[in-house]
């Protein structure tokens, strides 16, 4: 018996000391996780529909993505996410088989294979200065290889062969003040026309031979009024430009190399004059001008005469013109009317000829139409049909065809800025949502199938059946709360100011809402906070979130608060707060009787405002008035300031929710040697299970757990740049731990010869940060653990018994903390984009670091690998405790990539949230893609896993019962025969 006990204990020890890495079987993909692929807000779109076969549209987006989409279903055929500094300026199709992208301000030209997205060639173009870039790809339908791709950027005009990317010739236009505005390459012509402005007052016109790059002719003519920069090219020999006063349209015609100007007053075209603006759509022989919020179409006659032909309301988006049959050119315009949008396609030459007029019911939560791209196709009756790709204000992408939305993509989700979690509604009594799905036989059958699967006895059909069963099972996409807390909502705020609620079960959008504001048309979203989470009182209230937005991009522009009901997605209220928003501080533990959380918002003047503006909240706040501290970081100046509350401004202004603050402390980093690159605090809602850490030799370490710790990393100003721009001697990285109440620097650690970027994570009493070591030329990860020295004497049991301990002594941030730190560094073989840590409901489960690598994968690394107590040869006792022998670099176990064989392209952030089940945590990663999974850092020790085989248990029980009966029968028989003997 003792032996068995010992064996059992040994087994337990073995199980607990084994390193549990996240691991997944291939057939478990999609059971707990989901992955959504996006591209971002579309900037340019080029249709490719000429050939039979797959119809596709090539798009480039603001997230620096170039992608090929299926025109029928909107799926992604292929996509490439370029680097963050590699913004795409233009995209086109050359030779009918290559996608040409121009990026990096016109200095990088790439060709991708149209069917599969393979890079074909890449050319770096010379650039000397910053300028707008232009891409001109010859539109030759006959695949004539003689015409080069013309690229203007960085002061140079390059002619590039579309076949192999070879630069055929380049022309220097870097002369001072010269700006190339248009590059025209007429069909069937070997002459390239280049038009530019010299000092914005002289039009210069070049004719360049497209084969050799020689200037054939050069003409210039001064324009006394000066140009304002915007230009609209209406035909092959005319452009229209605004003069510097923006009240005169100037037609520049360059027929036969002669430049002539023709001025037309805008006031002569339309009655209401004002500052005019030339709109971007390229229409032939016509231009669109925006005057006084109206869009006016101006036709350009043969002699350069201008006449206004039509005008439209402001809420109109237009496409470029598109050649349709018989030398006609058409364009599309889209405008709103109530909940409908009207798509109209007209001929440019004859605005009364409407080729298409469609009205489409549109979701109000998409805002207005931002961009339109049209494409035509020949219907079976030989008439022209049109499809329109429209980009809405919330960044979503829709394809309209034949009066219906063929497909839509929620591209707003590619630019998530902030994420929070919310609970789903509780299942109401009496209303059973769960359906009775199985009879016992079905249930048993299902489990036997699962058993077969887990024993690898299943046939391929069985495998399919199992997978299907798993996907459908357990009601994972129900819209109610579950016992384990696996079903939740992730609320995501996007850059377009749209709020999405995503279900953790299958990732579908439960609701979405576009923020509105009374003050401005579309506020931009900044951050999200949990506003009301009823769990004790106010149970009838739905939980809600606070969205902080801003009218305008400047930090001093007025803020907007919006409160959104989490269950329904309805905006409860929205208020224009009339002051700027610099910092939003949710006050921990302070809630009013409605369970609304108190928030402080700091403005640019250093005053703070209390929300919600109720007398009750004010009462709560005033009680704790003296204990409220806050800090701000001025990264550019290298100053961290701590503030305390001073007084209410009730006397000065009528607003009694408005407080002044006083500066308590400042930490100034010398600007010549240190520059702040990263600051970080603990998550305010983090749960710490135990303060004490018992080591093997019965020693107790007390964690120094404080909510007021700030981690700051600084580097030498020279080392703030990229890797490779600095030598090891010139750069040093220093990290500090600062108490934000007193401003005391509790600990600092300097790393010579190291530089940023620093990615850090702060949890409980430890900080883990990732940086670059220039000496070893490798990335490093350092862990710092902070322990409380003042309680170290409490180890003595007698002291505890006699009550001589200081455990009940109040902890004050004012007293000088006695603390000590332990730290250790390791090499890490990858660049990192972001680091997060798992969080569980009670904080008992061991933690894992979630490292978002530059390869857009997420690695789960057990915290035990970054434990400063690791030694080269741990003793037996330490091994039993789970201390891993020290290695110089952290291991990358491929099975512990939680994203398995997926990538979260453009990864920007990882959010973790606890489930109700202690062992489990939700992980949500966002970037261009979204990814969600559920993690159990120490395996699901508190529940049976999904693939627990009940069938095996049943079979065992049946076998045991059978065995009992058989043996009973046998023994009866034996007894009988013995009695006969």
């Amino acid at each position: 018996m003792a032996m068995a006990l010992r064996l059992y204990l040994l087994l337990i020890v073995f199980l607990s000391s084994a390193i549990v890495s996240f691991s997944l079987y291939e057939d478990q993909v999609g059971l707990m996780d989901w992955h959504q692929r996006y591209i971002g807000k579309v900037k340019h779109a080029v249709f490719h529909t000429q050939k039979t076969g797959r119809k596709r549209v090539i798009v480039s987006t603001e997230e620096n993505v170039v992608a090929s989409l299926d025109l029928r279903h909107g799926e992604i055929f292929w996509r490439h996410v370029l680097g963050t500094k590699d913004a795409i300026d233009g995209v086109d199709i050359a030779l009918g088989k290559y996608v040409i992208t121009l990026s990096s301000e016109g200095s990088m030209l790439r060709a991708w294979n149209l069917p599969d997205g393979q890079l074909v060639w890449e050319t770096s173009l010379h650039s000397a200065q910053h300028s707008k870039s232009l891409l001109s790809v010859p539109v030759n339908l006959k695949f004539d290889k003689d015409y080069p791709i013309l690229v203007f950027g960085g002061g140079y005009l390059h002619a590039v062969s579309p076949i192999d990317g070879e630069v055929l010739w380049k022309k220097d236009f870097t002369a001072e003040g010269f700006e190339v505005k248009r590059v025209l390459q007429p069909l069937e012509s070997s002459i390239v026309y280049v038009l530019g402005f010299l000092h914005s007052s002289e039009a210069v016109f070049y004719q360049i031979d497209s084969k050799s790059g020689e200037v054939v002719a050069e003409k210039s003519k001064a324009f006394p009024g000066g140009f304002s920069g915007e230009i609209s090219s209406v035909s092959n020999d005319k452009v229209v430009v605004l003069d510097s006063t923006r009240s005169i349209l100037v037609t520049i015609s360059f027929v036969d190399g002669e430049i002539s100007f023709q001025k037309t007053l805008i006031s002569s075209l339309v009655e209401d004059s004002g500052e005019a603006e030339i709109l971007s759509p390229l229409l032939s022989n016509m231009l669109a001008v925006k005057v006084n919020k109206r869009t006016i179409f101006v036709r350009v006659g043969d002699q350069g005469k201008l006449e206004a032909v039509d005008s439209l309301s402001d809420e109109t988006a237009m496409s470029d013109s598109l050649p349709v049959a018989d030398d006609q050119v058409a364009f599309a315009s889209v405008h709103h009317e109530g909940s409908k949008i009207h798509l109209t396609v007209k001929l440019v030459d004859d605005l009364d000829t409407v080729l298409l007029r469609e009205s489409i019911q549109m979701d109000q939560h998409r805002g207005r139409v931002d961009r339109v791209f049209i494409n035509n196709y020949i219907k079976t009756d030989r008439s022209n049909g049109f499809r329109a790709l429209i980009v809405m204000e919330d960044h979503s992408l829709l394809l309209l065809q034949q009066g219906a939305i063929v497909w839509s993509r929620e591209e707003g989700l590619a630019s998530v800025t902030d994420v929070t979690t919310a609970e789903l509604p509780v299942e109401k009594d009496g209303v059973s949502v769960a359906k009775v799905e199985h009879t016992l036989v079905d249930w048993l059958k299902g489990h036997i199938l699962k058993l077969k699967g887990s024993l690898l006895l299943a046939s391929p059909e069985d495998v399919v059946a199992i997978q299907e069963m798993r996907m459908k099972s357990s009601g994972r996409s129900k819209l109610t709360r579950d016992h384990n807390g696996f079903r939740k909502l992730f609320i995501a705020l996007t850059r377009a100011g749209k709020l999405f609620a995503l279900h953790t079960g299958d990732g579908r959008i439960v609701w979405s809402t576009l923020l509105n504001s009374p003050a401005c048309a579309r506020p931009s979203g900044i951050s999200l906070y949990q506003w009301q989470v009823p769990h004790h009182h106010a149970m009838d209230e739905n939980p809600s979130v606070l969205v902080v937005g801003r009218c305008g991009s400047d930090s001093s522009s007025p803020g907007v608060l919006s409160f959104v009901d989490v269950y329904t997605g309805k905006e409860i209220s929205s208020s224009d707060i009339g002051h700027s928003v610099v910092q939003v501080m949710p006050l921990p533990l302070f809630t009013d009787s409605m369970e609304q959380r108190l928030h402080l918002i700091a403005d640019t003047d250093g005053h703070v405002h209390l929300y919600p503006k109720t007398p009750e909240a004010l009462g709560i706040f005033q009680r704790e008035f003296q204990n409220v501290y806050w800090y701000n970081v001025e990264g550019d100046d290298g100053i961290i300031r701590g503030h305390g509350m001073k007084s209410s401004c009730a006397g000065e202004t009528a607003d009694e929710y408005y407080f002044t603050t006083r500066e308590l402390w400042t930490v100034v980093f010398p600007s010549e040697s240190e520059k702040i690159i990263s600051t970080l605090t603990r998550k305010p809602n983090e749960v710490v299970h135990t303060q004490a850490k018992v080591s093997t030799d019965q020693d107790v370490l007390y964690k120094y757990v404080s909510r007021n710790l700030l981690f700051v990393a600084t580097v030498s100003p020279k080392g703030a740049g990229e890797i490779g721009s600095v030598t090891p001697e010139e750069s040093a990285l220093v990290v500090y731990l600062i108490d934000t109440v007193t401003g005391r620097i509790l600990h600092h650690l300097s790393h010579q010869g190291c530089q940023g970027p620093v990615h850090a994570v702060f949890s409980e009493n430890w900080v883990v940060y990732h940086y670059f070591n220039l000496r070893a030329h490798k990335y490093e990860v350092t862990v710092v653990e902070i322990y409380d020295q003042s309680r170290a004497e409490n180890k003595n049991v007698w002291k505890l018994v006699l009550g001589k301990h200081n455990l009940t002594a109040p902890i004050s941030s004012y007293s000088r903390p006695e603390m000590f730190t332990k730290s250790q560094s390791y090499f890490f073989p990858q660049s990192v984009k972001t680091i997060a840590v798992t969080s569980t409901a009670k904080g008992i489960t061991s933690k894992q670091l979630l490292i978002g690598t530059i390869g857009d994968q997420i690695l789960a690394l057990d915290k035990r690998f970054v434990d400063p107590r690791r030694t080269l040869n741990p003793s037996q006792a330490e091994k039993e405790e789970g201390i891993i022998p020290l290695t110089d670099s952290l291991p990358i176990i491929p099975q512990s990539y939680i994203t398995h064989s997926l990538k979260v392209e453009g990864l920007r952030g990882i959010v973790t949230a606890p489930a109700k089940l202690e062992s489990t945590t939700h992980v949500f990663a966002y970037g261009v893609d979204l990814f969600y999974t559920r993690l159990a850092p120490s395996k699901t020790y508190d529940s049976l896993t999904d693939d627990f085989s009940y069938a095996l248990l049943l079979i065992t029980i049946v076998a045991l019962v059978a065995a009992i009966y058989i043996t009973w029968a046998l023994s009866e028989k034996k007894e009988l025969s013995e009695k006969w003997r």
Binding site: Q118, L119, V120, L456, S725, P829
Partner: protein, 209 residues
């Protein structure tokens, strides 16, 4: 005379130092155009590593990215596996290759200004220096656990298997063990135990008296 002679190299050194200082201060300014070089390399996945992977599609070059200095520049591979970084200043750089299904060591690349952009490369993981910039994965990554095939031992080792095994032992082997003991000896030991006064369960119960 001698002191003057001795001082001339000193002066020369001083002049050199000043000029070096001057150059050092001007270098970052001029690096925009003259001091930028091109790094060209190649990614190759040997057939041995490729054979060991389950993810065949990952081997396609269109999904591989080459990253310079932790994201400063991202380059893609051409069909022949070549990649290029343009406009790289002289200095020590880091190149990483990201391909799903493979693990590449980061490469330390020294671009020499003196030798007009001559490139020296070292794998930082293995400290092996490369004669030419051909990057090969260190290993193929397997992201999934492999299901073990049907195995009798695995079933027996599972808790339920152990339970069944234990029962079998009790049912079949215990009677055998009991048989081997002599009944008289058994009785003797039982009596001995009783005499020792070990409080057995039966003796505690009043009904057994």
């Amino acid at each position: 005379m001698a002191p003057i002679l001795r001082s001339t190299p000193l002066v020369a050194l001083l002049v050199l130092q000043i000029s070096l200082l001057f150059f050092a201060s001007t270098l970052p300014i001029s690096s925009g155009s003259e001091d930028s070089y091109t790094i060209t390399g190649r990614v190759r996945i040997p057939a041995i590593i490729l054979a060991g992977t389950a993810i065949g599609h990952a081997a396609k070059f269109s999904n591989i990215k080459v990253v310079l200095n932790g994201g400063q520049n991202i380059s893609f591979l051409r069909p022949d596996g070549y990649f290029t970084f343009h406009k790289v200043p002289a200095g020590t750089h880091l190149i990483e290759v990201y391909a799903l299904g493979f693990f590449f060591s980061p490469v330390r690349v020294d671009v020499s200004a003196r030798h007009h952009g001559k490139v020296q490369a070292t794998l930082t993981e293995t400290r092996r220096s490369l004669t030419e910039l051909v990057l090969e994965p260190l290993r193929a990554d397997q992201y999934y656990e492999l299901r073990e095939p049907f195995n009798v031992m695995a079933i027996l080792k599972s808790p339920m298997g152990l339970m069944v095994g234990f029962m079998v032992v009790v049912v079949f082997l215990m009677p055998k063990l009991m048989e081997n003991i002599d009944p008289e000896e058994m009785k003797r030991t039982q009596e001995e135990l009783r005499n020792q006064g070990v409080p057995s369960l039966s003796s505690l119960l009043p009904a057994s008296r």
